[in-house]
Amino acid sequence: MGRPSMTPSQIDYSDVQGLVRFGYKSMTEAAYVLLRIRDVGAARSWLGVAPVTTAVLVDPPPSIAMQVAFTAAGLKALGVADAVLSGFSSEFLAGMTEESRSRRLGDAGNSAPSQWAWGNSDRVPHLVVMFFAKPGLLDTFVATATGKAWNDAFDVLRSLDTSDLGGSEPFGFADGISQPQIDWAQERDVAGGQLYYTNMVALGEFLLGYRNEYNKYTDRPLIDANAKSAGLLPAEDAPEKKDVGRNGTYLVLRDLRQDVRGFWQFIGRQSHGGEIDQLAATFVGRTRTGDPLVPIQKEGIAGIGLQPDQIRQNQFTFDQDPTGAGCPFGAHIRRANPRNADYPGHPTGFARLLAMAGFGPRGFRDDLMSSVRFHRILRRGREYGPRLSPSDALSPAPPDDPDRGLRFVCLNANISRQFEFLQNAWVMNTKFSGLTGENDPLLGNRQTTSGGPGADNLTQQKDDRLRCRVSGLPQFVTVSGGAYFFLPSLRALRYFAT
């Protein structure tokens, strides 16, 4: 093993797929096409010249974009050698539907893989091709890209359409407000730990081949240099090896069906004629327009941006609300991003040593959560199905009510420590933050692992009063498909295609 180089390398944006850097918000049309390889030769030819969009900043921004990612089965079908495959992470290789993994992800009951429309048994895709386009351009773009060569190469397993709900998710809440800021310049110093919450996250958390929040390199396939691998970049931490993972990352895709009517009708019943938006906001932890239920702080937070909107919506931590009276401990945003740091209470000097040794604050809810910087994900999902306003959602469903939901997409370099941890230890965990009998009010499957009473509560603490507990929450979100993908660098894509 070579010594890690001291100066970070420059990022070659032309080697990185654009989705890592951009959300393609102005390209409001998108379709994710799940494919199985029919003819390996034809598939390689198509992939070898596929116009995959890179992360290079261009002006004016492109009006169309295409991204390609592979499952483990797909790489195998493409003829990638076992010796290369085995360098990928075990969760990627095993896939999302492994029995014990489903237990951890909460994919049980009607969210169990056996109920999925795709991603299970023989419906595991080999690859996903993601098309993005500005309004009106998607159909032409897809038609051009999927000519004869495409038809020779692939069978379409499923095409996941998306819809533009104008920045809201199907329940009607502003979405995508909080995203980690990637430290592209690799200036972040993680050696001394982290005393305050920051939104800047080490590049290696989102892109393989670079230092992560542990100041280490996440495992990925490193192979010998030879004629075939000549086009790949060397590994930073082992320059004699070629790095198949470098500038690539893992992509998690899950189809989440949302029961929009069920959600608002439940809220309506619970509000007893009162203001429905107010109760709904406690489920999310934000108002429908995206304002947090806790006050923003005066001190800035690195990586949230400097626009007034960004400050109003993201310049806060839950330090402002230690009793949970502002935002429920179990609210969606508090589970998905607890906005904490390595130690509770920001201890320094001797106090920090004491805290390390376990003699820090001893309140019931102190120090219950892992430090969030190791568990961030970059969300790149899109909605599907027609818009349904909360007031319309209160009326009964017509017979042919279409499905609505989220094509959840997230990027992370370590699926088990990032996406799976977040899903298992925070979102689905019935014991999150000292709670019991509740999981995420939006995403929760309402099941307890021990078969005890259902996890169907949401507790709102009240200042100097008895808490208010909403019980009998139905399941609002059902998983209907999913898979783990590898989003390769452009170089690795060409390597796979030859």
């Binding site: 009793t323 219950l368 008895l466």
Partner: protein, 433 residues
Amino acid sequence: MTPQTSFMILAPIDPERETALRQLLASMNHAVGRVNPNNSLIPFGQFDRLHFARLLIVDDKTTDDIRVYHLPPVIYPLYLAFLGDVDGDRDTLLEELARVAPNGLRSIFLCCQGFTSDTDLVAWMKQHSTPSAASYVNWRGRTVRCIREEARLREALENYIQGAAATFTGLRSQEIHAHLRRFLQAETSSGRLKLTPEDPTPLGWWISNFLHLIGVPLLFLLALPILVPIGLIVVIRLRTLEKTDPELYPRVDAAYSSALALLEDHDVTNQFTAMGSLKPGIVRLLVTLFALLLIDWAARHLFIRGRLARVRTIHFARWVFLDGRKRVVFFSNYDGSLEAYMDDFINKVGFGLNLIFSNGIGYPRTNFLIKDGCSDERKFKEYLRRHQLPTQVWYDACPGLTAVDLERNTRIRQGLETVSMSDQEAREWVALL
């Protein structure tokens, strides 16, 4: 206060009976990874002083690792281990086991070397008891009975509050506390709820614990004139060793890892067993002994109320030396998934983890014994998973309850047993409900 103890019965398996033993152990579960608490061999559910129990075949797949030191691997016998965490005296629990489940125990132990149909069960179990080098109890003195009574108390409060929600409208924390105290009094006097007072602390235990508390540091101080030079030599030697000791963390076999995962996450609490060989040489042995002594002392006197350093998810844990201190095995009962457990360890008590586990062959390289090591997260996780052993039978007397749940329930009870509270105390207490 009833102190907790533990037992571990360890005996080599008769190779010809290994298959039969595996079948017997499997018959105690009603599904993979899920014990039947009323199984006919050892009906764990009948022992109301037993917190956790496990039976496993100590099948160390890493004994060949010593080859990295150019030493021949030792062929160790395959052991059966039967462990339990107990309220009060361990010997009386062994006697109770022999009384309640003589046939089941006999059929299991008959698969071990030297056990025959006329062996005295209790004497044999005591004879094969193996002590821990260090052990940790989440909350000293909290008995199974106490856990169950407090869980029922919380449930009763929850039901009462749900049924009488209007009663609490407008009540402030101190008034809520007073109101629920009256509810508790009514429930206990009618016999619907029971909160048994603590038993007196056994005098013998109190004395030995006190002697341990002051004795270990005192002996340490007395031995300082010898320990300082030895310590210096050890540290100097250790600095060389940690730069040269080979690391060994190949990717864990996917089938082995999947088989382990099948046993996990059936409940909020999980079992964990890992073992490995110590690095050869006296220096590593001395460091291990010192680290375990330190951990044991701290766990016995400092970390007795819900936290092992910063970790709040461990119910019971222990380290045991095997085979003349050539190998160490670690057992724990923890909350959450293994991934979260390992993250907790790495991020919160990485220094302690390195201090002890870095003396195992192949551990990711440390720096001054407590730095680096497990912070090479992927290496560490591969290392730990590779050293993990499947546990064939695992029993938890209080399923569905995390250690944090237990702490909440205890705090609720303590609050209800407090006659009057300050405004701030009452607010914090009401927030637990």
